[in-house]
């Protein structure tokens, strides 16, 4: 069992979720409430990371973030090391690739809030920020939950992009998904089976607990 890889995957999942939670709240809320021409196009745009095969998407990201790219150069200049083939690179790629899973369900969550409740929040003197915290987040919580769980689960299993951007460096960018894949490719069925079983068991437990706690968290946010 490659515990390092598992830890790495869980960390990647948590980072992705942590970054995408505020992003999906802001973007989902904006898409839920705003009315403008071309909104359908923006919503479709959000979906596009899904339609390319991950390895190919990862390849284009590798070019876009590589050390010869503006992004890559900027990163190098700012942080003193390159973005691709690092854990940070994985997080950035994972955040981009999971945008559809995070934003769409969050948007639906906000759309499900009755407009009169937002109006009531405003007439109760709540600033948009307070209204978001006290009224909208708790009520959009099921949608945000879905967003986060889909993102987390999908990050655990993501292979193509992680491989392209990360380069499968043990302890740094070799996630459990890559490790399991390698075991399968090496015809180590026992090793692959054990890792898969552990991954599935841990995911199952995490997600179940998340669901059980989520109702409580949703309420406590109020």
């Amino acid at each position: 069992m490659d515990w390092t890889a598992l830890t790495l995957s869980l960390e990647l999942g948590l980072w992705t979720v942590a970054i995408l939670l505020p992003v999906s709240v802001l973007a989902g809320r904006w898409l839920a409430y705003a009315r403008f021409p071309g909104k359908g196009a923006v919503e479709a745009l959000v979906m596009l990371p899904l339609v390319l095969p991950p390895t190919v998407f990862g390849f284009y990201l590798l070019l876009a973030f590589g050390r010869n790219s503006p992004v890559g150069t900027f990163w190098q200049d700012t942080f003193g090391h390159q973005l691709v083939f690092t854990f940070e690179g994985l997080v950035v790629a994972s955040v981009i690739f999971n945008l559809p899973f995070a934003i769409q369900p969050a948007q639906r969550g906000f759309e499900a809030i009755a407009p009169e409740l937002r109006e009531a929040a405003a007439t109760c003197g709540m600033s948009p920020w307070k209204s978001l915290r006290k009224v909208e987040l708790p009520l959009a919580w099921p949608g945000l939950m879905t967003a986060m769980v889909l993102t987390f689960a999908h990050t655990l299993g993501e292979f193509g992009i992680v491989l392209m951007i990360g380069g499968s460096i043990p302890g740094e960018t070799r996630t459990i998904a890559i490790a399991i894949y390698d075991r399968v490719q090496a015809f180590d069925m026992r090793g692959a089976g054990i890792m898969s079983a552990v991954l599935v068991a841990i995911s199952f437990t995490t997600i179940t607990l998340t669901y059980l706690l989520s109702a409580r968290i949703g309420r406590r946010l109020a």
């Binding site: 390849f59 590589g66 010869n68 890559g72 083939f85 380069g167 499968s168 460096i169 490719q185 015809f187």
Partner: protein, 236 residues
Amino acid sequence: EEPPVIAAASDLQFAVTEIAAAFTAETGQEVRLAFGSTGNFATQIREGAPFQLFMAADETFIAQLHAEGLTRDAGVPYAEGRIVVMAPHGSALKPDATLDNLARLLETGKLGKFAIANPDHAPYGLRAAEALRHRGLWDRIQPHLVLGENVSQTAQFALSGNADGGIIALSLALAPEVAARGDHALIPQDWHDPLLQRMVLLKDAGPVAEAFYGYMQSPPAREIMVRYGFVLPEEG
């Protein structure tokens, strides 16, 4: 009747595509090509994949399938693969057959990332590891390695500019699209075990697959294979 499907290791991308075109031009018969990882193909064949001819990057898979009675016979070796060290234009790494430049970069701490295929399961990765071990660089190069899932992806790493270079198949390095992106140097054949590639007709093979199997061993095909850097069995 649909043309037969031929499963070929991904290092054959360029060579076999060209051979298939020549085959069609010559015989008027068509084949469908599927490139991928040798290991995956072996698994798929066990589960009933409708391939008629299997061209593996590693002959051990053929032997196993033969032992399981899934092939018509033990097949024939069709080529021996060679590996090269390759670096993109402008890289700090200047490829040389003895890997001296790589060793120097390592010593001076100037080496960035270096790509090889995953030696756990990719035949080209295993040979690359053997060569690096032979040259005494294996331990020191560990922190610099990025691992491709297969040799094609390794080439992408090596040439995308994000790594200083890598070890890939000669057959890829000679492909015009790849050759244009950098320089390569052939690693001595005796630094690693031979990459013996074997092909075999599967149980359901039809006449067209049989014809292609034969064509692969004919001079026109062999000429193309050589052009892509494969060492052919007889020349061994």
